[in-house]
Amino acid sequence: MDKLAMKLLAEWSYDRAPLHRGYTRKYLVVDLGDGDGKYSHTIHDIDEDMIDTFTGGRGFGLKILWDAVSPAGRWDSPENALVISGGPICGITQYPGTGKTYTVFLSPLTEQTYNSNAGGYFGPYLKASGFDALAVTGKSPEYVVVSIDGDEGKVRVYAAPTDERNAYAVTEALHQAFAKNEDDLVSVSVVTAGRGAEHSWWGALNVSFYDPRRKVARLKQAGRGGGGTVLRDKGILALVVRKSGFTGSENDPADLATLQKVGTKLHREIRNNDDVQSLMRTTGTTHLNKIMNDYDILPVNNYKYGRSDAIGAITPEEYKKLFTQGYADGCWYGCSMACAKTVDGFELRTGPDRGKKVTVDGPEYETAAGLGPNVGVFDPRWTIESNYYADHYALDTISLGTGLAFVCECYELGLITKEHTGGLELRFGAADQLMELIHRMVDGRDEFALAVGKGIRKMKDIFARRYGADRAVMEKIGMEGQGLEVSQYRCQESVAQWGGYFLTLKGPQHDEAWVIFMDMVNKQLPTFEDKAEALFYFPNFRLWFSLVGVCKLPWNDVEPEDNRIRYKGIEAAKVPEHVQNYLDIYEAVTGKPLSEEDMILQSERVYNYERIFNYRMGKGTRKEHTIPDRALGPVFPDEWNVRKDYFEKKLEEAGIRGDGLSVEEKIARLQEHRRREWEKLVDAVYARRGWDRNGVPTKETVERLGLDSPEVLEVLEPYWKSAGRA
């Protein structure tokens, strides 16, 4: 293939540990030294204890990260580890959505642990190459490529062979460079970032797989939390794994027949139900735009509004026309959900690749809503173009969308002006100006773009200090929690979803609990106890996916036809038949039976371990669980007035008399009321999770989960003993 001049800096041989029942029981650490160019590697055993406590995937990632960093460690310390791990189910091919890769690292945005997942072939190939996890630590003085060749049993460090640092170019070049021939292109997977990640804290990780139909390398993102920023901070251009001849029994499962049986059952279900239930195969997750708009949940203009009359321009039908139809668009073999939609032959109108026709992966719902209505733009082509460049520069599309929405509102409120933005008029809907700002984020030379790329939390500091912007207003409208930008659901009217977003381990990301429909639309969580139960069960249930290496979508984006007949309410929302599928395939792979209770227990261990980890890093208490006013309700009269009757009624329901009050006063009263509700929610959720009122796991919880190892006790015992215990 196209051979780049690959200058070898270090090379080590290893004996490939065989995969048996989902595990290799080994992990690899590559250390890039302390800026001194000293590269080294170590291979560690994973014992039964580690499997019992952490299961795999994100659990392994957290354990390995804990061992790598000290409490003083920060995201840019050499000791920070970027850990990538699939999990025991990761890499089976018979069941949809089983190729997920989970990344764990200390995040620049939240200054605590973060975990983010992506499709692509890296996780499965890493396992087939002999490692359940890969950790990279240290910092290289020059950009390097770290490669693992599972066929040859070699780990190598190369000097970066190209000046290209943006994702599509790097990925394509490395697929070509590492593949032995045309057919071998599918045997390579690349993890890279882009130049934006070298300056912005929104740096995304792009994980690839080769699409033999389109003959292009496709990119899936572990976008959130700044993993790409960490990658580039370490001086890593890319991580590459190569493993040829992947088969459907690579995991050496205990019971292939069950995997086949359960897998084909779901394939059939998807074939029969997707067109009526969720349109994943035709429109991917963008089908949600219209539904969210219908329920006033679509974020419009920095979450001010929940719907727009302009929705017609971004409906599923519009996206369907742009997406290429009829291909096997899974991000791993066997995923018949096929949500990985692409726009092929898309001609770019701006930026360094202007005029080029490209294949764009996505947009998914989060991108379509964030780089769309949330910044006041209702033009799929603009969204697709910004999606392309965000991926190429490696900027997390969710944080970018929410961050730009914040910038637009600050601009419209006059908190920042043209003088500050480098001449850009950043109003909602200012498509060209916003695109220009994205391009300015690539190289760190534009002072304003650089500030934006640091995320909303830092923007608030910088805008206040540098431009004299009103801090109190920014605190109200900046949609972040724990330093992370909120993903794209407007949660004001769902008390449970306040918690789904703002009582999370890592910040407001929808992968913990998406309970907005259950709570707000279906009214299935009437009491605080019900809400707390949902905010216990769903985060733990969904965390399990990250332990074993599977995708959330095939769990509930398609359901058995009779799910809502056989089960009611929150039970139906659990999709019991699919939960059973997971228990079956877990046992079929590992040979270990698993009950529904044990499944939650596996998750609870890691959920609490991560919480303790964050406490160890100086976070992880109640004071970090903050929620901005905009997430609770309207902040300004214009927001109130578009749904005047609705909010008047809410005030009345809260027992507050509105007569004689100005709109501003009414807003203040509603906000006060909702803050009180929020505090009640926090108390209820902490209690259900086995945490004290300060949000720290209690001794009983730690013991019940078997987490009372010396390293954990060392962190928590002084706290438990201290008089200041809340």
Binding site: P212, T247, S249, A257, Q260, I270, G334
Partner: protein
């Protein structure tokens, strides 16, 4: 395009076709490894066999399925990753699998079963279309 055409009204459910097919292609006499399946549904014969519609070609992520020069859909076992999406998406449920064989299997219109059928219930035809 060649395909195996079935005449249900003539089938006496003797199983000779399954026996011949599995012996020829799986080297053992077992109906679950046959690429044609004869079942009795409420006393009537039901024959499941690929009609070479090609629906599975598009869903295969590995480009392991393609038509040969006769229009017959074939699996390239070297490329197949055993994901069984073709099984789930086959409209006539005539792509089969077994945990003893890595890849799924289907009728390739070879005609071996036609020759053993005592009733003339099977026939290889050429539709004359490209598929």
């Amino acid at each position: 395009m060649k395909l195996l055409k079935t005449y249900l009204d003539r089938c006496v459910q003797c199983g000779a076709c399954m026996s011949a097919c599995s012996k020829a292609w799986a080297k053992e006499d077992s109906p679950e490894l046959s690429r044609v399946r004869v079942k009795t549904v409420t006393g009537m014969a039901d024959i499941r066999v690929c009609d070479q519609c090609g629906g599975c070609i598009a869903v295969c992520p590995s480009l392991a399925l393609s038509r040969d020069k006769d229009g017959v859909v074939r699996i390239d076992r070297k490329k197949c990753t055993s994901c069984l999406m073709c099984v789930g998406f086959c409209p006539s449920a005539s792509m089969f699998f077994s945990d003893r064989i890595p890849s799924p299997y289907k009728c390739v219109a070879c005609g071996i079963c036609v020759r053993v059928c005592p009733e003339g219930a099977l026939e290889i035809i050429d539709t004359g279309k490209e598929g």
